[in-house]
Every structure is written in C-alpha cells, then in structure tokens.
C-alpha cells in the first residue's frame, strides 16, 4: 500500500507544526521553559502522533523528505520525553556543594588515594633530586622566585612583610584561572586511560617535594609552613581531587572489574566528574583569594603562628567537610531505599 501523501501531510502538518513550536519553546527558553501538566500531556500526545506518523511513512511511503522531517521531530521530542536528568534539585547550588560534592568525593575515594600516592611518589622524587643533586633544582622548579637561596628570599620577604603594594586582586584572579585551567587539564587527561592525569599529579608532587626539601634543608621550615599552609591546605587537596576526577574518567574507560559496557561506565561516572571538578573550581577560587591576600604577607606584618593556625584549622575543616558533609542525607536516602526494597 502507498500512503496518500497529500492527505497525510494535510492532516499531520498542524500537529507537527504544533510539536515543532512546543519543542522550539523548550529548546530556546532555558530553565524558564517549564510545561504545565496540560502542556506536558499535549507534548506527549504530539510526540506519540509524530512517532505513529513516522512509522506509517516508513512502512507505506519511504518518502525521504517527510521521513527526514518526522525523524528530526521525533528525535527532538524523544530527547525531551525520555531523559536521564533526574531533578534540578541536584543543581541547586547550595545542596550541590554541601552534599553532592563531598558525596561524589567519598564515592570515588579509591581514585583519590591513588592520586595521593602518585603525589607522594612525585614529592619523594623531587625532594630526593634536590637534596642529592642541587643542579636538578633549575630543571625541576620553573619559577624564578624559587631558584635562589631560600634564606635570601625569606630575608627579602620579611623586610617589607610581603605588603609591597602588589596588585593583589589581579594576582588572585590569575592564580584562580590558572589553577582551574590546570585542574581541568588534569581531569581531561583522564581520557588517556588516566596516564596523562598521573603524569600531571606526579609532576605536581615533584615540584612540591623539591620546594619543601629545599626550604627545610635551608632551615626555613617555619616560613615555608606559614607561606604554604594557608592556601596549600585547600589548593593541594583541590589538585588531588582534580586528579581523582581524571582517574575516575580513566577508570571508567579501562573498566577493570566492571562488566558494564564502556558507554554505561562513562555515563555513570559523568555526574561525579562534573561534581568533582565543580567543587575543585570552588576550592581553587578560595585558595586563590587566600594565596593573594594572606599567604603573601609574612612577619612582621602577619605572625607565622597565625598563618599556620589558619592553615591548620582550614585543613581540618576541609577534611571534616569532605568526610562528613551530606552524609546524613545519604544515609537517610539509603535507609528509605532499604525500607522500600
């Protein structure tokens, strides 16, 4: 049988146009484009009508233009009717940060510890290289202000207390954007089955280890801790979490011990990746502010004891946040799920 195309188009066109207009409204309206119940029912009806029309045109007519138009409409409507998106609540900023971020961190703790091990290995390598081969310092530390003798730098910094009239806001913004870019790269290199991520984490560890060993060997431990701890207590964990995200991505690609297809593994890892990197960005914004407006001030302007206490308290709070925050909600959900089962 062949379809009466003219009648078919005449009858279907108003409904297709209505579906097209409804989809266009959803596609261009952003978050405001919400449907009320009647409109949602109408969308579902129009989607089913267009699907039925597509089935008919494919069975009886094989007319390429109408078929292509209906496929396009059904494809767009299918995406609206069947979606993975759960609720927008997840993206309510506050709940996302205090529950979603720590929750994702805890779910992927294995990758975090792997990032910690890679960093420690890098730090040990960097420290060993600087201590046993002083000529390695210019190779490992590509920063001018770290190449000289630590004691000279400390003396210079303490002459004016770090308050040298520098452009703190600009410095802070540069730190934030640069660090977030590096964090994004660390995550993105997870696409190399995690290898690129491990290289970046290891290299970060090498720099950290080299600097720490250099300052400790020069007897400048107090300055070092007072300088690094206020921002490092947030920045270093943030980079570790970025590494964690990259390793989660690499792990999803490798799929060791997971029988699900790669597409499904990546799909289940995706929300956690986005959450982790979002949390990392927030932490790095804070770290950038602290590094520019606090870490750069030294004695006599700011006592080292105060800076170290600030850093230690911050690290404790961050650890508590990552370990505990949102746990109650997760337990309640698990209990409800258990009761439901």
């Amino acid at each position: 049988m062949i379809l009466d195309l003219h009648h078919f188009v005449q009858e279907g066109r108003p409904l297709w146009d209505e579906l097209d207009a409804l989809l266009l409204r959803l596609e261009t309206g952003g978050k405001r484009a919400c449907l009320d119940l009647e409109e949602a029912k109408r969308l579902h009806y129009l989607y089913q009508r267009a699907s039925a029309d597509l089935a008919r045109v494919m069975t009886f007519a094989a007319e390429p233009e109408i078929r292509a138009h209906l496929e396009s409409l059904v494809g767009r409507a299918y995406g609206e009717v069947h979606r993975h998106r759960r609720t927008d609540d997840r993206w309510a900023v506050w709940r996302w940060f205090v529950a979603g971020f720590p929750g994702a961190f805890r779910r992927r703790l294995g990758s975090f510890w792997m990032a910690v091990v890679a960093t420690i290995a890098g730090a040990a390598f960097g420290a060993g290289a600087v201590l046993f081969d002083p000529e390695a310092k210019p190779v490992l530390l590509p920063f001018d202000h770290l190449l000289g003798n630590p004691a000279d730098r400390v003396a210079e910094e303490e002459r004016d207390g770090g308050s040298d009239g520098a452009m703190h806001a600009t410095f802070s913004a540069s730190l934030m954007t640069h660090n977030i870019r590096v964090a994004i790269l660390t995550l993105a290199l997870g696409i190399t089955w995690g290898f690129g991520t491990l290289v970046i984490i290891f290299y970060n560890g090498v720099i950290l280890g080299a600097v720490v060993a250099d300052y400790i060997a020069a007897g400048q431990t107090t300055f070092l801790v007072g300088w690094l701890l206020p921002h490092g207590s947030v920045e270093i964990p943030a980079f570790l979490i970025a590494g964690q995200a990259g390793l989660v991505l690499g792990g999803a690609l490798i799929g060791r011990g997971d029988r699900a297809p790669m597409v499904e593994r990546l799909r289940s890892a995706g929300p956690d990746l986005a959450t982790l990197i979002g949390g990392v960005a927030v932490l790095l914004v804070w770290a950038g502010i602290v590094e520019s407006f606090l870490s750069q001030y030294h004695e006599p302007v700011l006592p080292y004891a105060a800076k170290i206490t600030f850093g230690a308290v911050q690290l404790t709070l961050l650890a508590a946040f990552l370990i505990l925050s949102g746990r109650r909600g997760t337990l309640l959900t698990a209990r409800r799920g258990g009761a439901g089962a």
Partner: protein, 265 residues
C-alpha cells in the same frame, strides 16, 4: 541502538518506532566552532569595553575582573548554551547541529560539563588536531569529549516543504482512464520505487539531458512491468510523463469518494 551506517545513528524508541539521526560531519562542526569563537570574541570585547572605564576607579580590580570574566566566558560559553539550549550553541543552531546523548536522549548537566572540559585535550596540539583525528576514527564521529560524555552531535534537517503538488497536479493523467488498473498500480508499487520516482521528478531539472532520459527510461521500465495498461493509454506516453502519472496515482487520493477506502490511511 546500533550504528546503521557511518554517518547515521539509529534509535529504537520504547514505542517501537525507529528513527535515525544524521551525524554532523567535521566541516559543519568546524564552521559552528568558528561562529562560536566569533561570538566569544565579540562578548569578551564588549565586556572589555564596558569594564575598561572602571579602571579609572581601580586598575587592580578591573584587571582582576577582566581576567575572571574572560575565563568564565571562554570556558562557560559552550557549557551554558548547551545546557540551557538543549545541546545547542548559537553556532550549532545556525548550522542546525545539536549535541544529544548517544542514546538519543537529552543531555544531562554532567554530560555537558564533561564533554566541554575534555575539549582541552581535543584542542591539542593546535586547532583540534586530536579531536579531529578522534572524529575520523570514531564510528559516530565523536571527539574525545563526546566519547567521555557519551554524546554525539547530530544534524537536524530543515523544515520540510513538500513540493509534490507543483510537480504533478493540474495535469491530465491518462492512467486515470483505467481506474481499476490505477488502483492495482497503487497496490503493487513498492514504496522504495515510488520514492525513487518522486526524487527523480524533484531533481529532473538538475540532470543532464542524457542522464534524465536514461533515468526516466529505467524507472518507466520498472513501473510498466507492474501493471499492464491498455496500449492506447500508454503507447504514446514519454517515459517521464508516464513516471509522473504513476507518482500522481500512487501518492494522491483519487477524486472519487469511492476510491478512498483503498488508500493506506
């Protein structure tokens, strides 16, 4: 869902309807990217122009604000548009492209974020070389960001405007002289052959004269074999007119109400 051909992805809905997505090729995606880059450059220029006046008050904070805003615009532009515009950016909208889940569903926020963050690897070393190679190798034309996020970029066809009426209506159709044979023809013409005949009619002006004669000759031969019309009706008909008459018979309802029951509707 499975790959049907290298440039299409097939989706079967829970309702049992099958549809295909034409995948976007590297050229259209590249043009969309250029358009989006122009939009980002324009946005950053406008922001600079507005903010530069605040430098009179505080140079430090103005420069800091510019640094942050440039970063936010360049990183967040695609993410924001793809999330709020259901997988489209202005460049993609102009090129009729859309990012969708590889199973045809709408994008999740996680997918939007991941595909755009992995972009930094796709861009390496310059001009999306890594992403371009990944697209060439991937069966679904996915760059690395698409692979990581489980997304594909599809093309949407322009809205269909049927022109069948102009092709076949208002002309005398000798095949209607034998309505019972016309009805039999409607039953016997395979949809694929009917579609090929319509295609040939739509594109006939673009064909070389020789190719046009040969094409309609082949089509007419295939169609004439389906039903034997009396010689006095079809003997004098050129192949192209015969094909046009057959298309009118199979694609339009007969004028008499009595024939309506024989359509597929």
């Amino acid at each position: 869902m499975r790959d049907e051909r290298i440039n299409r992805v097939r989706v079967r809905t829970p309702e049992g309807v099958v549809f295909t997505f034409p995948l976007a090729g590297p050229v259209t995606r590249c043009i969309a990217w250029v358009l989006d880059s122009i939009a980002v450059a324009t946005a950053t220029s406008v922001v600079s122009f507005v903010l530069v006046w605040f430098a009179l008050v505080s140079f430090d904070f103005t420069l800091a604000a510019l640094t942050v805003l440039f970063f936010v615009i360049s990183t967040g532009y695609t993410m924001a548009f793809e999330y709020f515009w259901r997988g489209q950016t202005p460049g993609k909208r102009v090129m009729r492209l859309r990012v969708v889940d590889a199973a045809g569903m709408a994008l999740t926020p996680g997918q939007v974020v991941v595909r755009n963050l992995v972009r930094v690897v796709d861009e390496l070393p310059v001009l999306y070389l890594v992403g371009g190679i990944a697209m060439m190798v991937s069966r679904r034309a996915q760059r690395l960001g698409d692979l990581a996020a489980g997304t594909i970029v599809v093309r949407h066809r322009p809205v269909f405007e049927p022109d069948l009426e102009a092709l076949i209506h208002g002309k005398y159709n000798s095949l209607r002289e034998a309505p019972h044979l016309a009805a039999r023809l409607r039953q016997r013409v395979p949809p694929v052959l009917a579609a090929a005949a319509v295609d040939a009619l739509v594109r006939r002006e673009q064909l070389d004269p020789d190719a046009r004669v040969a094409l309609f000759g082949e089509l007419a031969q295939a169609l004439r074999g389906l039903v034997s019309f009396p010689p006095e009706i079809v003997a004098e008909l050129p192949d192209e007119v015969f094909v046009r008459n057959v298309v009118e018979i199979v694609h339009t309802r007969p004028a008499t109400a009595g024939m309506r029951g024989s359509t597929a509707r």
